[in-house]
Amino acid sequence: MAKKPTQHQDVGTTGHSWDGIEELNTPLPRWWLWTFYACIVWGLYYVVAYPAWPLLKEATPGLLGFSTRGEVAQDIAEFEARQAPMNTKLVSAELTAIADDAELVGYANSAGAAVFKTWCAQCHGSGADGAVGYPSLIDDDWLWGGDIESIHTTITVGVRQPTDDDYLRQSEMPAFGKDELLESEQIDQVVNYVMSLSGEPKDATMIAEGAVVFEENCASCHGESGEGDIDQGAPALADAIWLYGGSYDAIRESVYNARYGAMPAWANRLSEAEIRAVATYVHTRGGGQ
């Protein structure tokens, strides 16, 4: 047999022997051992100081009272405290004067963009270009007015909301077909007439008869020449923009059943600063008046 290696004699063996093969009892490196002990001490400290043991409803709170929710709440509070001066300035400014203050309009646009993406984009689209039934906010056609004050009011009270006690954004078009106010034939005539207002070529007799129906039933809100009336939220009928679609069927449907689009009153959910910010944002998307 070869001579036994001598270099590890000092550490000895574990005492186990398998077919003559023995295992050296080399101790753990000292640094490793101390790191291990340090981890145990740290582990004990952690269990006592931080939330650790799950109980029936929640974990043990820990002596330091640490909680991640608490940290988030603190971050939010810090953020709001930082924004507070600008928000105060925004709320106290004249609505029409916001645009003249470069710093304020910059802040309002940034904050408004965030509000818009959170609360408005679902219906009006992330580009604010609307969808069928949901008005585009970047064109120049406004149901309730496109100046900053009108936009602010619309966002505040919403559209067709029961909380709108001053009837600022309330209107109700009669359902001319469903409620049998007009004959089916009269509806066809008036649809032809309305489409002719924006330049669609239509049958002359239908237009002439439709003009009479329009004069008697529609002109009081939509105007003599279909120019609309923003005071009562009556859409212009002579322009190129159709909220519910410009096809014959879509317009006939509007006359027959009427449409009652609604928007929430955001005063219930957003702060005045947020409403003003998003009003400024909408106003500076290209359609503001």
Partner: protein, 482 residues
């Protein structure tokens, strides 16, 4: 016969042999002093150079303004999107290092590397306080901490600490207005980051220059390992003319020489080259990884050769080709032939090309910078009278120290008209040293070709009405056909 086994396994850890370099004087030492003065001078003084840029911009010649994301270098101002200049400078630094290494070996390590410069400075202080090599050795070996040893060590450490503090202190001045920060630092009003940066750099300087020294070069720095790839047989490094020096032996008087006829080389084994070496190596063992080619051994040996009346250059800058030639009895190549050869010329050409490209890029930097991003959400808007409108986010950079009026116009399609958001007329004022985002609306009336087309091309012009500078960007208008 069984193989003998060592009693203990070989240790993988080599304890540091302390190095106590002896003072030396000579041409290379003088050169190192000069280079140290220049490099330290540049480092400590640069932040204090003033450079007038007008009222709205900082007047510090070299300033890395992280808060405002600007880098100022004398007349050059770099914005984040121009960071390729910095990348280019780093490429040049790399190529420069290749060039010098292929020609002169580790000349960077030996003379200009901060590790070398500060270590040299720390050793200088150590020598002032504790004396030259022998005195320091004695102090080191003296077990007893008597009053003298404590005093010398304390003075040395305090001086080292002050140098380290000044080093860490100078660094932070590059990042904010130096005089203001100096005041704030003294009055304890500076930002905590300034103090913590200083503290960390003070600690690293003290440790690297005072304690670790050559171990940084040997163990921590990757450069010694990479450099071999850039050196060849023509590279000048420090070498020992062993064919001239060996067999070495104690200097013998005439009598002794006559008595002993054994041949003797020029090397008298005085250990001067070893004693002065800051890396603690013996260059007579040949060129080795630890050698930073600082040339101090050349100075030391030349000094000894002069004293014993032998020609200088027993230890000298040598290339491998020279060694071969000299051993074969031929004269070595001239230094210039080592320096001007294809490899160094190639490196120089590359280095110069990058430099030239950067210079050209610097001088053709546009006077007005704008980007035009068509808003694609939605691609176009239908207005009530049938007009088609497109929106563009135009970003205008004003890199001047004063506000600039930019007039925005369009060209290339007569159907199109332009309007700016929130601005009367077509001129927008961009404040000094900022970038403004301007929404620009372009409209095509109902029925025009542009309004019906899928898309038409046109150009947005921006003109500084105060001095007539113009810039333009081509973009597209999406019509109903889109």
């Amino acid at each position: 016969m069984s193989q003998t086994q060592p009693d203990t396994p070989p240790s993988l850890y080599a304890a540091r042999e302390p190095v106590f370099p002896r003072r030396v004087s000579g041409a290379f030492r003088n050169m190192k002093w000069v280079i140290m003065a220049i490099t330290l001078g540049i480092y400590y003084l640069t932040p204090w150079i003033r450079w007038d840029r007008g009222p709205n911009l900082p007047d510090q010649a070299v300033l890395v303004d992280l808060a405002h994301r600007r880098f100022y270098f004398f007349w050059i101002e770099i914005w984040p999107h121009e960071f390729y200049f910095v990348a280019g400078l780093l490429v040049m630094a790399g190529l420069g290092l290749f060039l010098f290494t292929s020609a002169l070996g580790r000349v960077w390590c030996g003379y200009a590397c901060p590790q070398t410069v500060w270590t040299d400075l720390f050793i200088l202080v150590e020598r002032w306080v504790e004396g030259d090599r022998n005195a320091r050795l004695r102090l080191h070996r003296q077990k007893k901490w008597d009053a003298r040893k404590v005093r010398l060590r304390a003075i040395k450490f305090v001086l080292w600490f002050l140098i380290a503090l000044a080093t860490g202190g100078a660094w932070v001045f590059y990042f904010t207005d130096a005089p203001q920060l100096a005041m704030d630092l003294v009055t304890l009003n500076a930002h905590p980051v300034a103090y913590s940066t200083m503290l960390i750099l003070t600690a690293t300087t003290f440790f690297f220059g005072g304690i670790a020294r050559e171990q940084i070069c040997i163990y921590a720095c990757p450069w010694p390992r990479i450099q071999a790839a850039m050196m060849d047989e023509d590279t000048l490094t420090i070498g020992y003319r062993h064919w001239r020096g060996e067999p070495r032996g104690k200097l013998r008087g005439k009598k002794a020489q006559a008595a002993d006829a054994a041949p003797q080389g020029d090397c008298i084994d005085c250990m001067a080259c070893v004693n002065v070496c800051p890396m603690g190596i013996d260059i007579r063992d040949g060129q080795q990884m630890e050698c930073i080619t600082c040339g101090l051994c050349i100075d030391a040996c030349d000094d000894v050769m002069a004293k014993i009346g032998k020609p200088r250059g027993l230890i000298d800058y040598l290339a491998l080709t020279d060694e071969t030639a000299e051993q074969a009895g031929k004269p070595p190549k001239s230094v210039w032939k080592h320096i001007f050869r294809p490899r160094t010329i190639l490196y120089t050409t590359l280095w110069a090309s990058v430099g030239l490209a950067l210079l050209v890029a610097l001088f053709i930097r546009p006077v007005i910078e704008l980007t035009v991003a068509p808003v694609r959400n939605p691609t176009y808007v239908l207005l009530s009278d049938g007009t088609i409108r497109n929106t563009y986010d135009v970003r205008l950079r004003n890199k001047n120290g004063d506000e600039r009026p930019f007039k925005i116009t369009i060209a290339g399609n007569d159907d199109l008209a332009v309007r700016l958001e929130g601005v009367e007329g077509q001129t927008v004022i961009v404040p000094a040293d900022t970038m403004s985002l301007q929404r620009v609306y372009v409209t095509a009336p109902k029925g025009t070709e542009a309004s019906l087309a899928e898309r038409v091309n046109f150009r947005i012009w921006v003109e500084d009405t105060s001095n007539g500078d113009r810039a333009s960007k081509d973009t597209i208008f999406n019509g109903k056909g889109n």
